[in-house]
């Protein structure tokens, strides 16, 4: 197990390095750089006419004139060595500061979503498989298909509207006005949860749909396995039997796809966040793209991806722990 973990860990680091290079290339893709915008912000309203030389000077000041590879090493070096993600141009502060709490909130949303996803999809998937071809099964399948097909931004918009109009729910943001600036406390955490459910439900729906299908399919397969019949033939009580034998195995594909769930959630997060007016990383990422604030975009993309890679790693370890066949396979 230790060796397995070590191997996976090294794999994770390599992937992270490659990912960072790719993220940097994406950061570099948009035409132009931040210098002209920066100049523009700096001198707007002052009546100063900005010349190309001024922009060039800013470029030098911001280090945008160096060759790309050098900047990559600068960038990744600063991140690894100093935890410094560079400069957030639009906010005139460091990326770390801009991201700050948002990373935490994003993680809260992520885990909220994952928890909802698994709490809903695993039992229901098992139930649907056990009740295969029943009315409940068809109902649940249809519901999950809808989760796949309904664009989540639409879902977000509709939920937002109804949550707001019918329940007068406090929307837009992750905290109520009173709690926004309060230090972290139990009450603030409660407040966060009260605000979290909407985005978490929106994001969880499609994830639930996927996982429900997976659990249902694996569970159906597992239910027909000889080992289940064999256990039943040994007189194992039905509920215990379902949990110990097929359900236990039906969880494996779920565990093995945690990383992809995270991926999917992060993928949908920016758009949902924009609709719901959340101020977390996804929304910031979109704004950073629109503003060409590439260090912010890069840092966020990197963080999100690292989180995914890390969760992949966790999922590998968990799976190996859950399924003794894996370790031996390597």
């Amino acid at each position: 197990m230790l060796r397995f973990t070590a191997e996976r860990f090294v794999g994770m680091i390599v992937t992270m390095l490659l990912v960072s290079l790719m993220v940097f290339i994406i950061m570099e893709l948009p035409p132009g750089d931040y210098a002209d915008r920066y100049a523009f912000r700096k001198y707007s309203g002052t009546g100063v006419s900005v010349t190309e030389a001024d922009i060039q000077a800013i470029r030098v000041e911001l280090g945008l004139d160096k060759p790309m590879l050098l900047r990559y090493f600068d960038w990744i070096g600063n991140i690894v060595l100093h935890g410094d993600f560079g400069q957030a141009f639009a906010f005139e502060t460091s990326v770390t500061k801009v991201i700050g709490d948002k990373a935490l909130l994003t993680t809260a949303i992520l885990f909220g979503t994952l928890i909802i996803t698994y709490l809903v999809s695993i039992p229901i998937g098992i139930y649907a498989a056990v009740k295969r071809a029943s009315f409940a099964d068809y109902g649940l399948t249809t519901f999950s298909y809808l989760g796949l097909a309904l664009p989540n931004f639409l879902l977000a918009l509709i939920l937002l509207y109804f949550a707001n109009r019918w329940f007068n729910a406090d929307i837009g943001g992750l905290f109520s006005a009173e709690m926004k600036d309060a230090p972290w406390s139990l009450a603030k955490a409660g407040d966060l949860i009260a605000h979290l459910w909407l985005p978490a439900i929106v994001l969880a729906w499609s994830a639930v749909a996927y996982q429900l299908q997976t659990v249902r399919a694996t569970m159906s397969d597992e239910l027909n396995k000889l080992s289940v019949t064999a256990a039943r033939a040994r007189g194992v009580p039905e509920t215990k039997l379902l949990i110990k034998y097929p359900a236990r195995l039906a969880i494996n594909p779920v565990v093995s796809t945690i990383g992809f769930d995270v991926n999917r959630i992060f993928s949908e997060l920016p758009i949902v966040a924009v609709v719901l007016g959340l101020t977390e990383l996804g929304e910031l990422l979109l704004r950073a793209y629109l503003d060409l604030d590439m260090y912010v975009a890069g840092a966020i993309l990197l963080l999100l991806t690292f989180m995914i890679v890390f969760m992949n790693f966790i999922s590998d370890i968990l799976l190996a722990w859950l399924d003794p066949r894996i370790k031996l396979g390597g």
Binding site: K42, Y43, A90, F175, G277
Partner: protein, 681 residues
């Protein structure tokens, strides 16, 4: 009428009978027979004299707690010591307010869309009254011009204090100009708007309350700038000066202790590089540094001061040293706190308004949301009303310095602009985009409602929808149609133009409609929406086919002291393109592109225009010529003018008058004295 007045006055008197010397609670609605020198406000002495009373002062009961939130502020002296000896006495619109509450407003982010709430707390030396005609005292209690408009003297209020309790004096004005704006060690390039014919003014503090601006050339309309400008012409010398070697022998040590590399960095950390206030605030830039320095933002004279800011929003509390009182002697502002939340998403903004969670919102409210907001007024317990926008008429201006010589040629032919103007069905545009509320009209470089030299009748040419005539004009230019119906340029290529626009400036529906009309004229039109930053960048870099935005900065008070927006390339924030012309003129033909004669003349006329007081015959003649140049050459194709826009306030917010304009040109709420707004609990 008089009887009623007397009666109500009597009632107030009766109520306040025990203290006979107390002053009448004068409101704008009921002036109780008093007539102030300036509309709706009094100097203390004037008020006491006119009402024959002795005004006692009262304060917000929460003020000590609020002061406690201001990092670095010490304990408060009594309110009478915090107010200037000569506070400004403000007549509330409808009633004396009560203290407390939080005003919740929304903006898009740290920087964009913030002027809505900036204007709520804004002060400047002078102000426009809500008639938008009269300049009245504010931070300055009076001003005086010399005869040839080259020297302006302001008299400040004795005993006026910054929000940290330090005295505010004439030195702070001089410091702003001499030690910051014109100090190359702090700001590399002196901002052109505070240079006059390229020359700096001389700003001198004569004594504690007297400051003079001596100008190299006559600037008869310059006072307007203080009345409408976002920029404040004073900075806390006691605060920023300590970082400058000139004023503090230990400045270098202090800078090092506070983590600043040089003078510029220190000043900019608080001042933010321009008069555009503390956006983003030092709290956003580096909260750790703020904690180390022990002051969150630099002291202010405004009604509220920022005490917290993060990427979610900012929080402000009332300034305990604010210089205004109401007619009952209560120190303003009434409202204790302001919450500005950064909500970039328009739908969330609308929902929160509809839910009654927003106290005040006017900037970036769009006309086509009006029906929705109006229908939900009752549920959200708010009021949505329309106010005229001054100068905000959308326009198209074809790039006559286009990099493509063929297009440049075509665009420079006035018949092209005439034809495209005739091709627009303005009535339909008005109906579809502006709910039928605007008026089809041309646009010139000034807002016709606010200047004497332009009227609506001047703006009717080529506004009728006449595709036949438009086609005839284009045919006459030799732009014949190909077999596919698309006109060909002289070089045989299809005539294709792209409208690049940002929805912050102009509505996307407008461009989709225009593209349709112009396609009917045989011109291939491609519409492309970009962010406002992208649009400005492209326009400033001469990379657009057609400039399209809404007029800004063209109302009388603005254009009379700053013709930038009537010229080229305009303000980089509101670009008018054609920078090559300006370069040619600035360099006397050494660089840039030679402008046509009418542009040369426009620059001449504009230069002269600014040197005459608005409303004089000379000013009117020059102004009219400027407008004629714009109109005759159809530099801009106006679409629809006099478009109203909605603004929203919670019904609990009191003393809000019907806005006479919703215009950046008068700095949004500044004329409506938000300090006397109050919240009914």
């Amino acid at each position: 009428m008089t009887k009623a007045l007397l009666l109500s006055g009597g009632a107030v008197l009766a109520l306040t009978l025990p203290a006979l010397a107390n002053c009448p609670a004068v409101t704008v609605a009921d002036l109780q027979g008093l007539s102030p020198d300036y509309p709706q406000q009094f100097e203390l002495a004037e008020f006491e004299a006119k009402a024959a009373c002795d005004l006692g002062f009262a304060e917000n009961p929460e003020i000590a707690a609020l002061n406690g939130e201001i990092l670095g502020n010490g304990a408060l002296p009594p309110v009478s010591e915090r107010l200037p000896q000569e506070p400004l006495v403000v007549a509330p619109y409808a009633a004396i307010g009560s203290y407390g509450g939080t005003l919740t407003g929304l903006s898009r982010g740290t920087e964009s869309g913030t002027s809505d709430l900036l204007s709520v707390r804004h002060v400047n030396l002078v102000r426009y009254s809500d008639d938008l005609q009269t300049i009245v005292p504010n931070v300055a209690r009076s001003w005086e011009w010399n005869d040839d408009f080259t020297k302006l003297t302001f008299t400040l209020r004795q005993g006026h204090k910054w929000s940290d309790g330090a005295p505010f004096t004439a030195e702070d004005v001089a410091f702003w100009y001499n030690d910051v704006l014109m100090n190359p060690a702090v700001i590399e390039k002196a901002p052109g708007r505070w240079l006059f014919d390229g020359q700096p003014a001389t700003v001198e503090a004569i004594d504690e309350t007297t400051v003079t601006f001596t100008l190299p050339v006559a600037q008869p309309n310059l006072l307007n700038r203080w009345a409408i400008d976002y920029g404040q012409t004073f900075l806390p010398k006691h605060f920023l000066g300590r970082y400058l070697d000139k004023y503090n022998a230990d400045a270098a040590a202090l800078r090092a202790a506070h983590g600043f590399a040089d003078e510029a960095e220190a000043v900019n950390f608080f001042y933010g590089n321009s008069d555009w206030k503390d956006v983003p605030s030092p709290l956003m830039k580096d909260a750790d540094k703020v904690a180390a320095i022990g002051t969150a933002v630099m002291p202010t004279l405004e009604s509220h001061i920022v005490v917290e800011e993060n990427t979610e929003g900012r929080h402000l509390v009332a300034n305990p040293y604010f210089h205004m009182v109401d007619t009952a002697g209560n120190q303003l502002p009434y409202i204790s706190e302001i919450n500005e939340e950064y909500v970039p998403e328009r739908e969330v903004v609308n929902l929160r308004i509809m839910n009654g969670e927003v106290t005040w919102k006017q900037q970036a409210m769009q006309l086509n949301d009006f029906p929705l907001l109006k229908e939900n007024e009752g549920k959200g317990d708010y009021t949505v009303a329309l106010a005229p926008t001054l100068g905000q008429s959308p326009y198209y201006s074809f790039n006559r310095t286009h990099k493509d010589p063929v297009l440049r040629e075509i665009f420079s032919d006035v018949r092209f602009s005439q034809a495209l103007s005739l091709g627009l069905d303005r009535n339909e545009i008005n109906e579809i985009v502006y709910l039928g509320q605007g008026k089809p009209m041309q646009t010139a470089a000034a807002e016709h409602v606010t200047v004497p030299f332009l009227s609506a009748e001047d703006l009717t040419d080529f506004t009728e929808y006449d595709p036949a005539r438009a086609n005839a004009l284009l045919d006459e230019m030799g732009l014949a149609r190909g077999s596919d119906g698309v006109r060909r340029r002289p070089d045989g290529k299809p005539l294709s133009i792209r409208i690049t626009f940002a929805s912050q400036g102009t509505a996307s529906q407008l461009h989709e409609l225009a593209a349709g009309y112009w396609s009917d004229l045989g011109i291939q039109v491609d519409v492309r929406e970009v962010t406002s930053d992208e649009y400005r960048a492209a326009a400033n870099a001469n990379e657009v086919d057609v400039l399209t935005w809404k007029n800004d900065g063209v109302s009388g008070p603005n254009i009379s002291q700053d013709v930038t927006d009537a010229l080229f390339p305009g303000d980089p924030f509101n670009p008018k393109g054609h920078a090559d012309w300006a370069t040619w003129i600035e360099t006397d033909g050494a660089e840039g592109m030679e402008p046509p004669a009418y542009i040369k003349r426009l620059f001449e006329v504009a230069g002269a225009f600014i040197k005459h007081p608005l409303g004089t015959d000379e000013s009117n003649a020059l102004g009219a010529e400027m407008m004629k140049i714009h109109l005759d050459n159809m530099i801009k194709i106006g679409v629809v003018s006099e478009i109203p826009e909605p603004y929203v306030y919670a019904n609990a917010l009191k003393n809000v008058p019907a806005l006479t304009a919703k215009a950046y040109d008068y700095y949004w709420t500044y004329p409506y004295r938000p300090q006397q707004w109050w919240l009914e609990q």
